[in-house]
Point group: D2
Chain length 286, copies 4
């Protein structure tokens, strides 16, 4: 049944008639809408966003025509838009360092089917997680990064991703700042998990900063990566309660469980085309 | 602007074309959709539910025609449907006993504007809260209930409600079982707050039962009232954490904060036409 | 029974024998310990904190001797310490501006007995809340603040507090920065509620900043006031979930419920002598 | 340092002098208390519970004498008591069926050090998880259960547990009712994870029942196993939010994350001697 499921994502200037036109279009093609969500930043002259999930027999065969014909309607509303097929799962590269909690969660959810994506390869600047990753029958590549070799390492990483047809990169506690050039050349978006409740504790060692400030909750933030460190559009955040007894190490341990949960939710929404970036914010149709 | 906001609620057998027909209809009337949510129990031959919020200039004047003309379309899909105006706020009767926490929350949210409803009168079988209610400039009626006077008391309550044009009754810790006959004659739905996480601890003294069972969370449930005690469609639930140190009295105190929050959320959704009853469940378009 | 309940709070360098000495002392006086909590920053040469709640018949009469005799023991461990009586409720001054949510919550919890304190007076730089406060039979003073009259206003506020024997000041959305001089002259500690999850969004307009950053949770922080804006020791924090649909005004509305809850919890712990300040952090024996 | 850490758990009738006597005893042995928690069901003639964690050099060598000498003091207060060593980690047998989520969580937390226990063997009535378990270098035994072979199967399970020196059994979604005889012969306590918020939805298929009742939260409960199904002392519970869109299968998927978290917390508290059973409730010194 998944083979018949398609999605249409739209954003455009809001004005009367968009939903009517789009649903009419899908109806003429014989599609049955199974989920639909919309949002407008302002009913008067705001920006309109729509996500429709529909069933259409023989979708794969018809998709090109469905897209071609849609062009005219889309143009009349000056839409940004895209169709996707649910059966065409995204291919992820997961970049890690030494910590495995966020990676394990993604691998486990992949196997249970809660994460609708392929984890096509795992890249790390350390060899530590190789055995674990291979145990899940996923390719692992160790790409070391020396003080002067970051450009070469990033080129190697991109090469490996391109070879695997990656369309989304997940930084699952990668612990390295990636270059603007790397981001430019990425074949798709990159999602990072930051181990704090952004914008609190930007940058390195958030748990040490949290301990020093004496906060009563710690958090994690999944966001799209932009050249500005920890400043990209936020997809998801969550927190857990801590108290005066928590050392920095205790915060780090407790935080792992929030990090893995927040990242897994964000990646799931992303691969199901539920996240739309609008300026520096996200609209999440969860 | 609120005067131009209307809502359309629909449920019918799912099949292709419903959204297209409805949005096309609204477009022809010049309405701009500002919020739309839908749900289908099953894409194949399930039940379909839709809530649309739209802006239409001069809505009040046009509403009757808008409804009349809709009949044909509605019939062709065998829809249950209704239009409402956001500006026509619902009129609530709140029934209480001696505890004021849930009532105060509703009164306070009414004043801040978070609760879009009129609290037209408060009824109680005890006189204790009279001064508090009058302090909010809301009519208060003490209708005592003796061992043999429940039928007369219920008649008096209904009389007072009818005189005030009530369309929703809120049992805000009323502590009395209402009769099936009373429910039948009510001019609208009744929402109750039960001080447990249903279906756990149905009936009287849930906090005593919770203490006896040694639960680690206590909860509250807002539901529509049906003749079966505590068995009506659930609108909202929430919990709070407790531990071995909580006596029954401590649970009761802690539970108040969950009860008031859960009830206030449920009533808000109800008065904004966000809740649809389907069998013994609710669809909440929050 | 409350009249017989006393509390002892201690902090000192950790070393073996503290608890044994303290409990032995209380035993010799015939006190029965009903609650005891302790914390040490480091078992080896750290700082030790203890809160003991005990029952002692005729506590009020015996307290002075109990304190006098304790001096020797306290000195031998170089303790900071204090005894308090549960029956001697703290006297609060609540400072507000125009918003009533945090204030109402304190007043309501005072009446239910969930907040063990006297709200002795309410001060505001605006007259708006006078009627509400008087409805609770609490004195209200309007002390306006002009562009050049802050020093005079603060002197007037202090005068009113001293006349009422205030020992704790609660800034319940006061919206004014108080001067370092004011803090110095305060007859006790001041607790502020900041409408963000500190250290995120320090200073003015946190909800506008939160909307701009596109966060998925908003929060509130109760902290002791120090001369550094929003940088004092944090007592309690909490958050609530928001999404892309929340305008700044929606965030402000949703945030109220977190603010009132967080402030009420913090004030309750403070007045029950459950909070110990250690450097810029708090130990909360909740 | 862990080798020097000991714990003392006590319960007895409450009366003045217990803490003083116990801390005095530990002081004479040169122990430094690093954590101490107590609870009394009622300050007047209630039951008193104490957990003390202390550091004592050469604990292993001294433990027997420490215990022997304590007998006199214990007798004078009619205490139930036990000393344990933190370094002597408990040995767990985990019983599973086909689902791996709760098991994986325990295995992963064991490796990170968040769970201070040995997972000595995994038993299952199905062979499905063998490969996964062996991947963690933990012995796996498949003990099939036929319609008439439960007694033999239980004997085999007990035999395997005895051979491994098991002291705690964890039913991590075992899906079989164990016999009263099996419980009697177990070498220690058994902890079960039930996939509902007890006492709601006792017995089989709680997610189906939850879907049918239309609840807005689902939960999980970790409890000690007693001969009464799902009625043993509750150690921990938690919930997650669901809505009308969740099918039974969706509830099952969402519930897994609560189940694994709740079970892991409960097992951690148990193996750190933080849980005391009192009647049909638990005191958890977390």
């Amino acid at each position: 049944m998944l083979r018949t499921v398609g999605r249409l994502l739209i954003s455009c200037q809001d004005r009367p008639g968009i939903v009517s036109a789009v649903t009419g279009y899908l109806l003429r093609w014989g599609a049955n809408i199974i989920e639909s969500q919309q949002y407008t930043t302002d009913p008067v002259a705001g920006r309109f966003f729509l996500r429709v999930e529909f069933m259409l027999p023989e979708l794969e065969r018809k998709l090109m025509d469905l897209e071609c014909d849609f062009g005219e309607l889309a143009e009349s509303f000056a839409m940004e838009w895209r169709f996707t097929r649910a059966a065409k799962t995204k291919r992820l590269a997961v970049m890690v360092s030494k910590a495995d909690h966020a990676l394990q969660e993604l691998l486990w959810r992949r196997r249970t089917g809660d994460l609708h994506a392929d984890i096509a390869l795992v890249l790390s600047n350390h060899p530590d997680l190789e055995e674990i990753v291979r145990g899940w029958s996923v390719p692992f590549h160790h790409v070391p990064i020396g003080p002067d070799s970051k450009p070469q390492a990033e080129s190697r990483q991109l090469e490996l991703m391109l070879a695997e047809g990656i369309d989304t990169v997940v930084l699952a506690r990668y612990m390295q700042v990636v270059s603007a050039d790397f981001l430019d050349r990425l074949p798709g978006q990159a999602i990072n998990i930051h181990h704090s409740f952004l914008p609190a504790f930007i940058g390195a060692n958030p748990y040490a900063k949290a301990a020093q400030r004496g906060v009563k909750l710690i958090g994690a933030t999944a966001h799209y990566v932009t050249p500005d460190l920890d400043a990209g559009p936020i997809i998801e955040q969550d927190v857990c309660r801590v108290d005066h007894r928590h050392s920095v190490e205790d915060l780090r341990r407790a935080g792992q469980y929030v990090e893995r949960e927040v990242l897994a939710r964000a990646v799931s929404w992303h691969v199901e085309d539920r996240v739309i970036v609008h300026g520096n914010k996200t609209i999440v149709f969860s």
